[in-house]
C-alpha cells in the first residue's frame, strides 16, 4: 500500500489510475452513474478525471467539457483559491482539511449560478500519485426547506402573539419534554424560563373561583374516552387581572388506545368578551329604558287603573264607618264592605306587581312560555291604556299553541309596544272602529306567530321605510326606540318582525318565534 505521507512526484500520465481491466472500468462507471450524488475523481493536481452522470446533471457540464480541467471551475470565487491552497498544503504536509470530514460548501454550475452543497472527499488508496474522490450533494432544496421551516416558526410565533393564542403539548407518560409556547406563557403571566409546570395544576390554581368547577369538569371530559376539552373560563393572574380564556384540547392515543399526550390551544378572548359584555349591557340598558318609556306613555292609564280600586276602597271604608255608627246597623253590610276592601286592595296590588315586574331592571332569563297565557297576563297592563283611549282589546288565541323558549318580560315588552302603537294609531278614528285584535297562530314550520292588528289609517309609505330605524318616530312624545328594540328582541329569540296592511284599513304587525323543541310535536 502506498504511504499517504510520502510526497509523490508528478509522473503519472492522465488515465494512469484507470483500472486496467475493461470490465472493472465498466462496473466502476456504472457505479458512478447510478449514484444520486455527484461523484468526481481528481488527480493530485486537482485535474478532473471522472465526472459522473449525476455530476453532469447537477453542474450542467458534460464530462467531456470538464475532464482534464482543474476542479476549481466548479467552485465560486473565494473557494477556488482556498481549494488550491488546501491541495498544496495537503501535498506538502499531509494535513487534511476536508478528507474524511465532509462539510457544507458552495459550488458553481456551468451557467455561473452558485448553490449550496455537502462535500465529502476520500483519497483513493493504493495509487501513486494519489487521487481523490469527491461526493457532492445538492442541498439547495433542503436549505430552502430549512429556511421555510425557520420562517414559518417565526411566523407562527408572531401569529400566536397577534392572536393572543398559545399552544402546548403535554406528554402524559413523560417520554418527551412538554412544550408550552412562549405566547401561552405570556398569556398566563409566566416567566418564559419557567416552563416546567403542569398546565392543569397551574390553571386550577389560577381559575376564577366561579369557573373552577366548570374547568374541573372540562378536564374530566378530557380524561373520558371522548377525550375532548372545550371550555371558556376566567383566570385571575398574579397581578390581579382577570383574563377570559377559550381553551381547546385533545388527547392523542396509540393503537391500543392508551393516551399519549394532550395537545391544546389557549386563546385569550378577554378583549372580545369585555366588548361583548359592554355591548350586551348597553343593549339591556336600552331595552330597559324603552320599557320604562313605554310605561311612561301609559302612566295616565296606569294611574287610572290603580285609582279605581283605591277609590272603591275609600268609599267602602266610609260606608263601613256609617254602618257601624248607625243604630240600626246590619253586620252583613259591614262584612260585605270589609270583604270588598280586601279584594280591591289586592286588585290594586296586582296592578302594581305587574307594573313592577315589567319595569324592573333584571337579568334576561329564558324559559318555556305559553304565549296565550302571556297575552292574558299582559291584558291588565294593556287594557289600562286601551280603556283610557276608549279602545277595545280582543284576544284571539289559537288552541294547542306550542310553548316558546323566551324571556317572558321581553316578549311582553314587544307585544305591549305594538299594542301601544296600535292604540295611538286609532286616536283619530271614530270610537266604533277603535279595536285592537291580538291573535296567536300556529305556523307550519314549527313556529308560532303573534299578530297585533289595528283599524287606524294604516302606515304611510314614507313611514314604513324608516319604521325600524332607531329614533324614528311619528309620535310627538315618542323615543323612536320601541320598534327598533322590539325587532332586536324578536331577532334575539330567533324570530322575525314585520308588518302588513290590515284588511279594509289599519296595520298588522306580525312576529314569529320558534316553538320550543320539546313542544313542537304537540
Amino acid at each position: 500500500m502506498h504511504d499517504d505521507n510520502h510526497p509523490s512526484t508528478a509522473t503519472g500520465a492522465r488515465g494512469a489510475a484507470v483500472p486496467h481491466s475493461n470490465e472493472a472500468e465498466l462496473e466502476f462507471k456504472a457505479l458512478l452513474d447510478a449514484a444520486v450524488d455527484a461523484i468526481i475523481v481528481i488527480d493530485h493536481r486537482g485535474h478532473i478525471e471522472q465526472f459522473s452522470l449525476s455530476s453532469e446533471r447537477i453542474f450542467g457540464y458534460s464530462a467531456a467539457e470538464v475532464i482534464g480541467q482543474n476542479v476549481d471551475v466548479l467552485m465560486p470565487k473565494p473557494y477556488q483559491a482556498e481549494h488550491n491552497a488546501y491541495m498544496d498544503r495537503y501535498q506538502a504536509t499531509g494535513e487534511a482539511r476536508i478528507i474524511g470530514i465532509g462539510r457544507e460548501v458552495k459550488a458553481r454550475r456551468k451557467d455561473g449560478s452558485v448553490f449550496s452543497c455537502e462535500l465529502a472527499v476520500g483519497k483513493v488508496q493504493g495509487v501513486v500519485p494519489p487521487r481523490y474522490v469527491g461526493f457532492i450533494r445538492d442541498i439547495t432544496l433542503r436549505k430552502l426547506a430549512d429556511e421555510r421551516l425557520r420562517r414559518s416558526e417565526s411566523e407562527l410565533r408572531l401569529a400566536q402573539q397577534l392572536a393572543n393564542l398559545g399552544n402546548y403539548v403535554e406528554h402524559i407518560d413523560r417520554s418527551e419534554p412538554d412544550y408550552h409556547s412562549p405566547q401561552l406563557c405570556r398569556i398566563l403571566g409566566l416567566d418564559a424560563t419557567d416552563l416546567t409546570f403542569s398546565l392543569r395544576d397551574l390553571l386550577t390554581r389560577l381559575a376564577h373561583p366561579a369557573d373552577r368547577e366548570k374547568l374541573n369538569e372540562a378536564f374530566a371530559d378530557l380524561a373520558s374516552p371522548a377525550g375532548a376539552f372545550d371550555c371558556e373560563y376566567r383566570v385571575v393572574l398574579g397581578d390581579g387581572t382577570t383574563r377570559y380564556l377559550h381553551h381547546i384540547a385533545q388527547v392523542t392515543r396509540d393503537a391500543h388506545g392508551t393516551a399519549l399526550k394532550h395537545i391544546g390551544t389557549v386563546h385569550d378572548v378577554t378583549d372580545r368578551r369585555q366588548s361583548e359584555d359592554e355591548a350586551r349591557q348597553l343593549q339591556e340598558r336600552l331595552t330597559h329604558f324603552s320599557r320604562l318609556s313605554t310605561m311612561g306613555e301609559m302612566a295616565a292609564g296606569l294611574a287610572h287603573e290603580i285609582n279605581q280600586p283605591l277609590s272603591a276602597i275609600a268609599t267602602y271604608a266610609q260606608a263601613c264607618q256609617r254602618f257601624v255608627r248607625s243604630p240600626t246597623r246590619d253586620d252583613a253590610d259591614v262584612l260585605e264592605a270589609l270583604e270588598q276592601i280586601s279584594v280591591q286592595a289586592l286588585r290594586a296590588g296586582e296592578v302594581i306587581r305587574r307594573l313592577r315586574n315589567f319595569v324592573k331592571n333584571r337579568e334576561v332569563k329564558r324559559e318555556p312560555v305559553d304565549c296565550n297565557r302571556l297575552l292574558d297576563d299582559l291584558r291588565t297592563l294593556a287594557e289600562t291604556d286601551a280603556r283610557l283611549h276608549n279602545v277595545r282589546l280582543r284576544i284571539d288565541a289559537a288552541a294547542g299553541l306550542p310553548t316558546v323558549y323566551a324571556d317572558p318580560i321581553q316578549l311582553q315588552q314587544v307585544v305591549l309596544n305594538l299594542v301601544r302603537n296600535a292604540i295611538d294609531a286609532m286616536s283619530e278614528m271614530p270610537e266604533s272602529r277603535r279595536e285592537v285584535v291580538l291573535s296567536t297562530v300556529i305556523r307550519a314550520e314549527g313556529e308560532i306567530e303573534i299578530i297585533v292588528a289595528d283599524r287606524g289609517s294604516g302606515l304611510a309609505p314614507e313611514a314604513t321605510e324608516h319604521l325600524f330605524n332607531p329614533f324614528f318616530t311619528t309620535k310627538s312624545g315618542g323615543t323612536g326606540l320601541g320598534l327598533a328594540i322590539s325587532r332586536s328582541i324578536v331577532r334575539a329569540h330567533g324570530g322575525r318582525l314585520w308588518h302588513t296592511p290590515n284588511e279594509v284599513s289599519g296595520a298588522r304587525f306580525h312576529f314569529t318565534l320558534p316553538a320550543s323543541p320539546a313542544s313542537k310535536g304537540e
Binding site: 277609590s311 276602597i313 275609600a314 268609599t315 270588598q340
Partner: protein
C-alpha cells in the same frame, strides 16, 4: 203630595267595585240607590224622568259619561248630574259643566264631599220639579179659560186698564170686569201682580 216617588240616586259606572262601593255608601246613609253599568243600560231603564240625581263616571268604554249627558239633554231630562272624574280629566269636566252638569268630583273622594253634592243635587231636582209642577198647574188653569177670557187676560197682563180693554175688544166695561173676575178666579190669582207673574213664568219657558 208632589213627592209620591222618593228621590233616588242613580249611579252609572263601568267599574263594578266603584259602582258597588257607591251603592253601599248611599245605602249607609239611607238614600235609595240604583246602579247601572253603562249609559245604555240607564237609558233603557227609563229612569231619567224620576226624581233624584245621577252620579256618572265620565270615562267609560262604549258610551262615555259625556255622551250619556248629551242623550239625556236630548230627552229633556232635568236629572241633575254629578260627574265622577279621574286624574287629569279636568278638560272633560269643564265640557260636562258647560253642558249643564251640576258638579263633578274627583276620585278618590271623601264620602261627605260626595254626599253634600248629592244632597245639593237632590234639592235642586226637587226645586226644579216643584217649579215644573207649578208651571203645569198654571198651564192647566190657562187652558180652562174661554177664548174671550184669554183675550182679556192678555190685555190685563199687558197692563191695560178695563176701559181701554173694553174699547179694544168692543165690549162694555162691565162685561170686561166680569171676564176679569172670572180670570182671577180660574187662575187662582191673589192679586194682579200674582196673575202677571204666573203668566210670565209660563210664557218664558214656552218660547
Amino acid at each position: 203630595m208632589i213627592k209620591e216617588i222618593k228621590p233616588t240616586v242613580f249611579v252609572v259606572d263601568d267599574d263594578a267595585a266603584v259602582r258597588d262601593s257607591l251603592r253601599m255608601l248611599l245605602k249607609s246613609v239611607g238614600l235609595p240607590v240604583e246602579v247601572f253599568e253603562s249609559g245604555q243600560e240607564f237609558l233603557d231603564a227609563d229612569r231619567d224622568d224620576r226624581p233624584g240625581c245621577l252620579v256618572l263616571d265620565i270615562r267609560m268604554p262604549g258610551m262615555s259619561g259625556l255622551e250619556l249627558q248629551v242623550k239625556l239633554n236630548e230627552r229633556h231630562s232635568i236629572l241633575p248630574i254629578i260627574f265622577i272624574t279621574g286624574h287629569g280629566d279636568v278638560p272633560m269636566a269643564v265640557e260636562a259643566m258647560q253642558a249643564g252638569a251640576v258638579d263633578f268630583i274627583q276620585k278618590p273622594f271623601r264620602d261627605q264631599d260626595l254626599l253634600d253634592r248629592i244632597n245639593q243635587a237632590l234639592e235642586k231636582d226637587a226645586g226644579s220639579r216643584r217649579m215644573l209642577a207649578e208651571r203645569n198647574m198654571i198651564r192647566k188653569r190657562l187652558e180652562s179659560l174661554t177664548p174671550r177670557e184669554k183675550e182679556v187676560l192678555d190685555l190685563v197682563v199687558a197692563g191695560k186698564a178695563n176701559k181701554v180693554i173694553a174699547g179694544d175688544l168692543n165690549l162694555s166695561q162691565r162685561t170686561v170686569e166680569i171676564h176679569r173676575a172670572r180670570v182671577m178666579e180660574k187662575m187662582e190669582a191673589h192679586s194682579l201682580a200674582h196673575l202677571v207673574r204666573m203668566v210670565l213664568e209660563v210664557e218664558r219657558t214656552d218660547d
